[in-house]
């Protein structure tokens, strides 16, 4: 049986400052080594001062994943020499001498399968190494410490995944979860990084590192399972090792074997006093947490009567569910949900496109009201919606410029339908026996009115005129 476990690193990108100093947590796009201070550069005499908000955000992740939070939370030093590590130790958490990391023993259910979380720990991100040329052939390694000290949460699962598909689903759930909690933007470059451990029946455990994206982890795992299985089938031993994902060649490559077993010589970090977490504090945190995705979906279905499928799509996208929650009323909820999921999500599906949307919340609500009140067809509604988010104008402004008001005046419609009947004689003949032909005629009328004809009134008139004929 295949066993897969994951180690996920997730930056708390929603925090203003780093984990142990006041430098910006958002290091992206800054000139190298411009976002550093004595603390992030590990200068002699500097001391880490814990960002308490980071502890709260990490605790929220732990709670959302059903983890236990210990009463005494503390930090450890993980000692090893590496150029991206300014102090040559990383301040992290460690459970070997009793649970003191922010979370342990949680679980997540995906498609009826329970994935157990081993632990969740808060730690500092190291700096970044920049190579001149490829990392194998480089003559020069540059170090940028802008990232050093960024708050990072490490999540470790038990080896409970049976296949790469489950991994993908889990990662999507996790990304949605941290986004919904407002602790991280998982889609920022490098904000969420995944390492995998995988073994097949009869083989040893292999660690896969250096996987750039969520999509690639599924590919890397698939490759690795196939590789290991074919070794086992040929009775060749699978070596316990670390392999790197080669993005260009889409294969895993054995990382140069470690000369010796790393001994991290963990040591309590006494510069950061132990944090006492009372049960009361945990309850307060729970109250501050936004509703979970499951709760949100449930609310959409049960309280607002939104169809389950629409509720699912809407609730798992934080941007659009926030928009929905800001715009809908009890009476137009279904229509707002429809507008967002069928018209808007398809057009603005990337982060850039979303950020370009100019949204007046009231305009969206007014638009949905107009559709509910039959003052606008759904078709016109879509046109109006796209104009609304392009211009940021109010609903009435858009309507007056677009001339979209509903055509339900019977005389006008009869005249237009008459014209269509002349043009489409064949369809009119078939209409008596073939419902598709009726729909075709309705479509022609819609086109002539640029979608403004009220569909139900149009259908009634057509039926009446055909039976008269």
């Amino acid at each position: 049986m295949t066993k897969i476990g994951l180690e996920i690193h997730c930056q708390l990108t929603k925090l203003r400052s780093k984990l142990f100093c006041n430098c910006r947590a958002n290091y992206r796009g800054l000139p190298p080594n411009s976002n550093i201070c004595p603390v992030c550069a590990g200068l002699p005499g500097s001391l880490p001062v814990l960002n308490k908000r980071a502890v709260e955000k990490a605790a929220m992740i732990a709670l959302a994943l059903g983890c236990e939070i210990p009463e005494r939370v503390s930090f450890f030093r993980k000692n090893y020499f590496y150029p991206d590590l300014p102090k040559n130790f990383q301040i992290t958490q460690y459970n070997a001498y009793g649970p003191t990391s922010i979370g342990s023993e949680g679980n997540v259910e995906i498609e009826g399968k329970v994935i157990r979380m081993r632990r969740i720990q808060l730690e500092e991100d190291p700096g970044r190494l920049v190579y001149e040329g490829s990392s194998e052939k480089t003559q020069l390694t540059l170090v940028d410490y802008n990232r050093a000290g960024t708050p990072l949460v490490e999540l470790v699962t038990e080896p409970d995944f049976e296949n790469p598909r489950q991994v993908r689903i889990f990662l999507n759930v996790l990304a949605d979860l941290v986004e919904n909690l407002g602790v991280s933007d998982p889609y920022l470059d490098g904000a969420m990084r995944v390492d995998g451990n995988v073994s097949v029946e009869g083989g040893n455990r292999v660690e896969i590192k250096n996987v750039g994206s969520f999509k690639d982890i599924e590919k890397a795992l698939n490759f690795e399972i196939t590789r290991q299985q074919s070794l086992v089938d040929r009775k060749i031993p699978v070596i316990a090792e670390t392999r790197h994902w080669d993005e260009a060649r889409k294969i895993t490559v054995s990382a140069r074997s470690k000369e010796e077993e790393q001994d991290y010589r963990y040591l309590p970090e006494s510069d950061i006093p132990v944090i006492i977490v009372s049960r009361e504090k945990i309850e307060n945190l729970r109250k501050q947490m936004p509703e979970s995705l499951a709760e949100k979906k449930d609310r959409y279905i049960k309280k607002l009567g939104i169809p389950a499928q629409v509720a699912e799509v809407l609730s798992s996208d934080k941007f659009y569910s926030d928009l929905f929650d800001k715009t809908h009323t009890e009476s137009n909820a279904r229509e707002v949900a429809n507008l967002i999921t069928t018209d808007l999500m398809g057009v603005a599906d990337t982060r850039e496109k979303k950020s370009e949307l100019k949204i007046d919340n009231k305009a969206i609500s007014d638009l949905a009201d107009a559709i509910v009140g039959n003052k606008l067809t759904r078709n016109s509604g879509k046109i109006a919606l796209l104009e609304l988010v392009k211009t940021g104008k109010s609903f009435s402004e858009v309507i007056s410029t677009l001339d979209l008001s509903n055509v339900s005046d019977i005389a006008t419609l009869e005249k237009i339908i008459g014209e269509v009947f002349k043009e489409e004689e064949k369809a009119v003949i078939e209409a008596n026996t073939n419902p598709d032909a009726v729909n075709y005629i309705v479509g022609r009328v819609m086109r002539k009115t640029k979608g403004k004809a009220d569909p139900s009134v149009t259908l009634e008139i057509i039926k009446k005129m055909i039976s008269i004929k």
Binding site: G45, L47, N79, P83, N88, V143, D271
Partner: protein, 483 residues
């Protein structure tokens, strides 16, 4: 004009206009220049800036501008405490030319009160040692006999205060590093409660244990310095947020009715006879002042040296890992080196004692040994803490000799690390327990070498501790160094 005056005397002379700050600083600097070839207390002098600063304070006083409460008092700073603009070497070839871009919190607090930093003073490399012999700049010498060690690791602090090269000095005390030179140089040295004084800018050796502490020729001077440097600091998460206390006010209250415990384990085997009799006379003085003295037993002390060196070395091995010469350090062409080879080559500049402790520390933390050494040492620490806590349920202070023996000759014990470690036996208890302790000059031996008495109090009881030290000081009438 005399420079052999206390801080209190200095302040009143400057305030009354009897002397100018510039005069005093200039005279102090002249004295430093003439005496330094014999004592070697300073690593780096900042004479020009000191004089500029003195003139600017004089000017402020003339024009009636606001002046900080220390009125240009000359201070020396141990060279493991960061000073912006003056190099901070830790007496190590690894940091020979390191200039920190910032002031330690204690330094900025001193500057804010218009103290004048004369320079940076010698220490054992990275504060590891008790004689100041392990400095890459060579040993400092005891002003009472220049063939003798001044104690350590804050040897430069003890020497500079004792020989009038400054009025107040800041040292750091990890296992007795402020009190040992205070005792050997016949000055007052205080190790505050862990968390009372900010460590921001103190280059870490053993960060769960060490504290910055002041040295002065008088107890009141030390109290005055503590007034300025103590208190919560946003840059050090281990500082306590207690209310500001004035340690100078009511310092002459006396100790009548107080109860003092004499730690039995520090008065027996291995203690020099003259040290014992000096301690006994201190006990007699305390009794004359109306305190009650009782013997007290702290048997966990037996293991304290082993526990201390285990914990301190473990922390040192981690704290000193950052010195890889990548971000600062000395000139060394890295080309042609693979990273690990470069780091081990670059790190070969540490001296023998630092290397010994880093190796020892890495060993006690390594897989499989953590429980056997480090965890056990932490248990001893807890045991000492609880025995101390117990003791303070029945007494107000504990008293011991500061050092078990008299100052000794330079070079005499340098080949024998274990003997040197054992000299810390009386001082490390306060470090492991986190409590405050002070060394007060008590007597001179027949060979005219200083003997100090150590008084310990419960956590954050510095005010009472200083009162007790002051009361004892009033009963002694000891000479200063002849210059």
């Amino acid at each position: 004009m005399k420079i052999e005056i206390s801080a209190t005397e200095y302040l009143s002379l400057v305030r009354s206009g009897s002397i100018s700050v510039e005069e005093f600083i200039a005279k102090t600097l002249d004295h430093v220049h003439s005496i330094e070839p014999r004592l070697r207390a300073y690593i780096t002098l900042d004479a020009d800036n000191a004089l500029d600063k003195a003139r600017s304070i004089d000017k402020k006083m003339r024009t009636g501008e606001k002046v900080g409460s220390l009125l240009g008092i000359p201070v020396s700073i141990k060279d493991n405490i960061c000073t912006a603009g003056i190099r901070t070497t830790c007496a190590s070839r690894m940091l020979e030319n390191f200039v920190a871009p910032y002031d330690a919190t204690v330094v900025s607090r001193l500057r804010q009160e218009d103290a004048i930093i004369i320079g940076k003073v010698n220490l054992d490399e990275f504060a590891m040692g008790s004689t100041t012999e392990f400095s890459c700049f060579g040993p400092s010498r005891n002003p009472w006999n220049t063939d003798y060690v001044p104690g350590g690791s804050s040897g430069g602090s003890g020497v500079s205060v004792s020989a009038y090269e400054c009025i107040i000095s800041l040292g750091s005390d990890t296992g007795g590093s402020v009190r040992s030179p205070a005792s050997f140089c016949s000055v007052v040295g205080l190790k505050p409660t862990y968390g009372l004084v900010s460590r921001y800018g103190l280059i870490s050796y053993s960060n769960s244990i060490e504290q910055i502490g002041p040295l002065g020729r008088k107890v009141e001077d030390v109290a005055l310095a503590l007034n300025v440097i103590a208190g919560h600091d946003l840059r050090d998460g281990t500082t306590s947020s207690g209310a500001k206390i004035d340690y100078v006010a009511d310092i002459g209250d006396g100790i009548e009715g107080k109860k003092i415990g004499i730690i039995k384990q520090m008065m027996g085997e291995g203690v020099d006879g003259e040290v014992i009799s000096a301690t006994e006379s201190a006990i007699a003085r305390f009794q004359e002042l109306g305190a009650e003295c009782v013997p007290i037993s702290l048997d966990a002390v037996e293991h304290s040296v082993a526990a201390y060196y285990t914990i301190a070395s473990a922390e040192a091995s981690s704290n000193l890992a950052r010195y890889d010469n990548l971000r600062y350090g000395y000139d060394f062409a890295s080309e042609g080196y693979e990273f690990k080879a470069y780091v081990s080559k670059a790190r070969s500049r540490f001296g023998p004692e630092v290397t010994r402790r880093m190796l020892l520390g890495a060993f006690v933390l390594s897989a499989g040994y953590y429980g056997k050494y480090y965890l056990k040492a932490q248990k001893v620490r807890e045991m000492i803490k609880s025995q101390i806590e117990n003791a303070f349920n029945s007494v107000d202070f504990l008293v011991t000799p500061t050092m078990p023996i008299l100052p000794f000759r330079i070079g005499e014990k340098i080949e024998d690390p274990l003997t040197l470690y054992l000299l810390d036996i009386n001082t490390i208890t306060a470090n492991l327990a986190g409590i405050p302790a002070i060394s007060v000059p008590m007597a001179f031996s027949s060979s005219n070498l200083p003997i100090g008495i150590q008084i310990l109090a419960n956590s954050f009881e510095e005010k009472d501790l200083l009162k007790a030290a002051y009361a004892l000081e009033q009963t002694t009438n000891l000479p200063g160094v002849k210059i």
